[in-house]
Amino acid sequence: MIFTQKEFYHIIRDRWTMMMLVALPVLMIILFGFGITTEIKNSQFAILDLSRDVATQGIVNRLEASDYFTLEGYVTNTSQIESVFREGKIGLLVIFGQDFYEQLVRTGEAQIQLIADGTDPNTASTLVSYATSIIRGYQQELTASDQQGVPYQILPEVKLLYNPTMEGAYNTVPGVIGMILILICAMMTSVSITKEKEMGTMEVILVSPMPPLLIILSKVIPYFTISIINLTTVLLLSVFALNVPIVGSLWLLVFISLVYIIVSLALGLLISSVVEKQLVALLISAMGLILPIVMLSGLMFPVENMPIALQVVAQFIPAKWYIVAVKNVMIKGLGFSSILKEFMVLSGMGLIILTISLKKFKIRLE
């Protein structure tokens, strides 16, 4: 339909709009993702070995032999743990309990504790996963060498010091997606509608027999399309450039994103129905939407650590729910049941905002 096509022309012909729509998401992902170090080499680690037997020695040797780790030294008792980390020399501490080998042989199971420095959660999780895989390699070797073929199991117990919930860098990807989508949907929609009001073209359209719903739809479709393109770019970038994998179902991720896009578009419509000027629309979307998203959605600070009042405010921010859902699906790999609540909240918000903005859409100039 030509009316939608015209909207695309507006977008394509304005260099700045185009730049913003295409370059901004890429730029944001790269900027935010910069902190994500994907490969770690020769990271310092320490050992607290209360057993000092064959097995513990075997594991320590293996860790030391790998490219990833360099042994800093031994810790002799638990009271020292805090201080080694505080000195900041090591990123990982491996603790073997007493009688490690004996337990392993007797029960076929033994526990190993991995403590990582959570201030840089990204590095921490990388270190932990490297260590775990080395330990698993040793465990397989042990099982294979056993004549009776008893399966040995070494269970790593992971603990993060300073940042037990692992808030941080991995969050940037869901956070940036949440932000880009609201930026494009809400801001661009509201700006493009108010632009027509300012130019006076809205007057002519209103006087035409074109039904308001159609006006809205044709305004919204281009931005809907662009946000889907952006979603794709951002996901591709995060998977291939930043190595943040999509652990869960891609379709579930896309589905919840669509819900969120609709909420954002509805927000844009709402803004444009109350506001007359482009500049005001821009300010409202920037100050009223983007700032709270950055501050309150958990993108930068974990919601749990905020004062109660802010936590309450955060509940009303669509991006907060969306980011949680994306984390669950994309990072943790959970299924639909895990994001049911987020889905319900987002759909509810979308429905309410859409109803209000459709009601508020003026068929006249007052």
Binding site: H10, I205, M210
Partner: protein, 308 residues
């Protein structure tokens, strides 16, 4: 029934009374001009008639349809060209026309005969973006866009503002052609000199209609004695004229001053004598090259007379 019937319409924005009880009727196939300065209430009136605003009180009917209750019917049958030419600056001439045709659920081909004369002038530039057109071309394109759905009534709010005189003249010629095809046209302008292009005009100021008449009649009905006065030094002349006791009003009108004479005073004897007195008075004041002659009132004279 007349295509536009307005009775006693009031409209207020906050504290500003934009329209104070306006009533008039426009006949079919007539160019009706609303003439008045900025802020007189012209745009408010247009927006009420095009269903974009709701009047505080009073009624308006477009082709028998109520502007508030039957706004949808009205939107199907009127063409509207708002004050600033409402075009998409970043779309080409052709694309603009297409968009507006689509909005009104028609195609360019369907009513091409209506816009043909106007559009042919634009055709060489049809791929140029509307933002890069001159004022006159924008105005023509906006008119095409307003005509594309073959409206029965055309509302043109200040279509000639900011457009050069040549384009303005051509524009009025186009309006006359459209009128001859039976389209009713309501048009507003701040330029008094365009009044003569209309079949009937309403002079508006401060939300009130001062008068509704044909342009000729308005000028005929100017009852005062009106002279144009010239001398070599125009500004002192204006001051001196105002000091002269039988001069009622004196205003600069381009290269001459227009002067009305107080006929009621005892110093008024007859036109010719009074004129001689005035000439002598001015000569005493040191003016040279004095020229005084009786003239017929222009619409501007009438407007100023009525608004006082």
């Amino acid at each position: 029934m007349n295509p536009i019937i307005v009775s006693d319409v009031y409209k207020k924005y906050g504290k500003v009374q934009a329209l104070e009880g306006v009533s008039f009727e426009v006949e079919k196939g007539e160019i009706f001009g609303i003439i008045g300065p900025d802020g007189a209430g012209k745009t408010t009136l247009f927006r009420i008639l095009t269903t974009l605003l709701i009047p505080d009180s009073g009624e308006a009917l477009i082709d028998g349809h109520h502007v508030v209750n039957h706004y949808k019917t009205i939107r199907n049958m009127v063409g509207y060209m708002p004050g600033r030419f409402s075009l998409y600056q970043d779309l080409s001439v052709e694309e603009n026309l297409k968009v507006f045709a689509t909005i009104f659920d028609t195609t360019i081909q369907e009513n091409y005969h209506l816009i043909k004369d106007i559009y042919q002038q634009l055709e060489p530039f049809k791929t140029r973006r509307a933002g890069a057109l001159s004022g006159g071309m924008k105005q023509k394109l906006a008119l095409c866009c307003a005509l594309i759905h073959k409206p029965a009534i055309l509302f043109l709010d200040e279509p000639t503002t900011g457009v050069d005189p040549v384009s303005r003249k051509e524009f009025w010629e186009m309006l006359k052609k459209l009128r001859d095809q039976g389209i009713t046209i309501l048009v507003s302008t701040p330029y008094m000199d365009e009044a003569s292009m209309c079949d009937r005009i309403a002079l508006i100021q401060g939300g009130n209609f001062l008068k509704i008449e044909t342009p000729t009649n308005i000028r005929e009905q100017f009852k005062k004695i009106l002279w144009s006065v010239q001398s070599s030094r125009m500004f002192p002349l204006l001051k001196d004229l105002r000091k002269y006791h039988i001069v009622k009003t004196s205003f600069a009108f381009g290269d001459t001053h227009h002067v009305t004479i107080d006929q009621s005073g005892e110093d008024y004897v007859s036109d010719q004598l009074t004129m001689d007195y005035l000439r002598r008075y001015l000569e005493d004041k040191g003016h040279t090259e004095i020229m005084i002659q009786p003239i017929k009132a222009t619409i501007e004279d009438c407007f100023m007379e009525l608004s006082h």
